[in-house]
């Protein structure tokens, strides 16, 4: 009974799988945070992809590309895995993309080899994700990539005693490790390392701890979104800013989306990041104009938009290389070493790690025409690899 039903099923499936090749629509499943507190970052996935499609059309070598969106909601690995399964089995997608949270990416990874589906990660920033499957390529960033330059900057600016405060999950722990290793190797001292639970809303006790430790600089990482605003408020309210304790971070706590709600107290904060909306280049200018055309309001462009835009470019290249056939190994091989000029600067896919190599910029929060922006200071750490993966 089960055997028969299985064979019938597999027949049906073969028929179905043969379907898309002749129908010639190549589907890409995008899993992102489209509702809830992280909705704007999910919206950036969609806008980034829409921008790429608007500029380059929805056809690659005669194949029509179609994007299917699913809502990952929040850090919910079981749901993300079920969504990925649904996209693969029901929607018959040839590529998966997106994914905001690390645990969700970890949950999806085991499906890729069995289903022969490449995954283009457009946010989740824990280094080890790309090691979970040979079919994962990442176009966003990693904590190591953005943090090592931060530690170097701290040394250069004369920081002696640093307190590290990070969110207690994968990327946060990565950031802590990266900063500590680089900073101590260059002779600095880490006087306090705090891991903050993800759903913390009151950051005052943390600020008091930092104050007690006598740090001259705070390095922090929190996932962009509501928590960063609370963190900032506590930093100012507890008098650390007034006392001259410097705040440094990766760009995540001063995303352009959050800056208006943080307000003027963010002025002067240093951050190292792979993309600033204010980046001066013709590519970025036309990217921002195109983003506005697909519905990005002012202050709505975030790093997930650029990762999705470049991710779509990678997917197009994969489709072109495989001529629309399901061949994940060939698809992934075709983008290894691929390089191009992105709106964020020159980037390339590291052939060894399948992670994006890119410039990391030192920026400072400034007011330009009455609007808070991350202004690049001119200090550029060029062609940064993912330090955690490349050293091995």
């Amino acid at each position: 009974m089960t055997k028969m039903s299985r064979s019938i099923l597999s027949l049906a499936m073969m028929a179905a799988m043969a379907g898309p090749a002749s129908a010639d629509v190549i589907k890409v499943g995008v899993i992102g945070t489209f509702s809830g507190p992280y909705a704007l970052f999910g919206k950036n996935f969609k806008m980034g992809i829409d921008t790429w499609v608007a500029q380059n059309g929805n056809k690659v070598g005669g194949h029509t590309v179609e994007f299917v969106y699913k809502d990952e909601e929040g850090p919910n690995p079981a749901k993300s895995k079920a969504l990925a399964q649904e996209l693969i089995v029901k929607d018959k997608v040839q590529y998966l993309a997106g994914i905001y949270f690390t645990p969700n990416a970890m949950a999806v990874a085991p499906l890729l080899e069995e289903s022969k589906t490449p995954l283009i990660v457009m946010n989740a920033a824990t280094s080890s994700i790309v090691e979970k499957s040979p079919y994962i390529v990442r176009t966003s960033f990693t904590m190591w990539q953005n943090t090592v330059p931060a530690a170097k900057t701290a040394i250069k600016n004369g920081a002696k005693k640093v307190a590290i405060a990070v969110s207690d999950y994968g990327p946060g722990i990565d950031a802590e490790a990266a900063f500590k290793k680089t900073f101590e190797a260059e002779g600095g001292a880490v006087v306090e390392a705090i891991r903050i639970p993800l759903n913390t809303t009151d950051f005052s006790p943390i600020m008091q701890k930092i104050q007690a430790a006598g740090a001259d600089t705070i390095f922090c990482f929190l996932p962009s979104g509501p928590p960063t605003i609370g963190f900032f408020k506590a930093y100012v309210d507890n008098g650390l800013k007034a006392a001259g304790v410097k705040l440094m971070s990766t760009g995540d706590i001063v995303t352009e989306i959050d800056l208006p709600s943080i307000g003027d107290s963010s002025l002067g904060v240093l951050s190292t990041y792979h993309y600033a909306v204010s980046h001066q280049s013709p590519e970025n200018k036309s990217f921002l104009e195109a983003m506005a055309k697909v519905g990005a309001g002012p202050d709505e462009v975030a790093m997930t938009g650029i990762a999705a835009y470049d991710g779509a470019r990678v997917i197009y290249k994969m489709i072109e290389a495989t001529n629309g056939q399901r061949d994940p190994a060939k698809a992934v091989d075709s983008v290894k070493g691929m390089n191009w000029v992105s709106p964020r600067g020159t980037v390339s896919i590291d052939p060894e790690t399948r992670h994006i190599r890119q410039n990391v910029y030192l920026r400072v929060v400034e007011k330009v025409d009455g609007k808070l922006v991350n202004k690049e200071t001119g200090a550029v750490f060029s062609d940064q690899p993912d330090w955690a993966l490349s050293k091995r």
């Binding site: 089960t2 039903s5 299985r6 099923l9 049906a12 489209f34 509702s35 809830g36 909705a39 919206k43 969106y69 699913k70 809502d71 929040g74 850090p75 919910n76 690995p77 079981a78 749901k79 895995k81 079920a82 399964q85 649904e86 693969i88 089995v89 029901k90 690390t102 645990p103 970890m106 949950a107 990874a109 085991p110 499906l111 069995e114 289903s115 824990t126 207690d168 999950y169 994968g170 639970p197 993800l198």
Partner: protein, 333 residues
């Protein structure tokens, strides 16, 4: 000498177990329907079944004993973590994992039941939330065991009977979950209709009267909580095995609140109500979220308001009334 004439209730007594057989048949039909009509949706259906266990479990304590709780996911998630940790440490037989889920759920149920059923009303509700938060906090903190906020991933349970592996299409997971659900449902029916189950219901309706009759309340509630824990544990185990991941969402407050909503939607105090509630809520959420991944939450909120306004006692009320009317009409004609 007077003769005591007992009214003879023929229904269901003539052929033993006919009720059970009918239900088993209905389950088999529903399962086959799901399996053959929606072969592409089995991952979702399996997830639904996992949640249905939790709603059934909640029904046992809330619907049958009147214990208000907003921390029920602790039992489900606690068991899921136990199964996940065991699986990572090399126990891969699915039935062994199910047993682990069942036992850890039951233990968690007994412990939290022993605490929660000491109180009534608001303190009880607060205590249930506290226990839920405690378990959630532990799951986040005990990183060596639970993986913290990254959760446990890459669980690979062995093959069922050594033949059917858990694959991408969730066929094995679906059939296994469904079978376990059917068996659990039949057993629970026995439990709630047993003298023990009836007494629980009696206590819920009028605890003073029950106490006057000499019934001791506390041990009964604790035992019911233990049974509920075992049921929730099964759900947690099945979910962990079929998805291969256990995350903080499985012990979250949102999960507890969501299943309470499902129970109210279906109708508390009926096993069928719990099933109907979970199926309808999950289906609605699934369809709406697929149709519009950006604004689906608003529509789910709207559904809840409509249900509370038009069927405050759950969908099972109007449904049973309809059934009763249909059957009585049949008898008349």
């Amino acid at each position: 000498m007077t003769e005591l004439v007992l009214p003879h209730h023929a229904a269901g007594r003539r052929i033993p177990l006919i009720g059970e057989a009918a239900i088993a048949l209905a389950f088999a039909a529903a399962g086959a329907l799901g399996y053959f009509l929606f072969p592409d949706d089995l991952a979702f259906l399996t997830r639904l079944i996992g949640i249905a266990f939790l709603v059934l479990s909640l029904d046992l304590v809330t619907g049958y004993c009147g214990i208000a709780t907003l921390g029920h996911a602790a039992l489900f998630g606690g068991a899921a973590y136990a199964v996940g940790a065991a699986c990572i440490r090399g126990i891969s037989d699915p039935f062994a994992l199910l047993a682990i889920g069942l036992c850890s759920g039951a233990v968690l149920g007994l412990v939290s039941g022993a605490l929660i059923s000491r109180f009534r009303g608001l303190p009880q509700l607060v205590l249930s939330i506290a226990i839920g938060q405690l378990v959630a906090g532990l799951a986040n903190k005990l990183q060596w065991l639970t993986g913290g906020s990254d959760g446990l991933s890459g669980l690979e349970p062995g093959k069922v009977f050594g033949v059917f592996g858990f694959d991408m299409y969730s066929r094995t997971a679906f059939l296994l979950s469904f079978t376990v659900l059917a068996i659990t449902f039949l057993l629970l029916r026995r439990v709630v209709n047993s003298p023990f189950g009836l007494m629980c219901r009696g206590i819920k309706d009028d605890s003073l009267r029950a106490r006057m009759m000499g019934a001791s309340i506390y041990p009964r509630f604790v035992i019911m909580y233990g049974i509920a824990g075992a049921v929730a544990g099964l759900g947690g185990a099945l979910t962990a095995m079929s998805t291969g991941v256990v995350g903080l969402d499985s012990v979250s407050f949102e999960r507890s609140a969501e299943v309470l909503v499902m129970l109210v939607l279906g109708g508390a105090g009926h096993l069928w109500g719990a099933l109907i509630g979970s199926v309808i809520f999950m289906l609605f959420e699934h369809i709406v979220a697929a149709a519009n991944p950006f604004h689906w939450m608003t529509l789910v909120g709207l559904l809840l308001i409509l249900i509370v306004v038009f069927a405050p006692r759950g969908l099972i009320g109007p449904l049973t009334a309809l059934c009763a009317r249909l059957f009585s009409r049949e008898k008349k004609t």
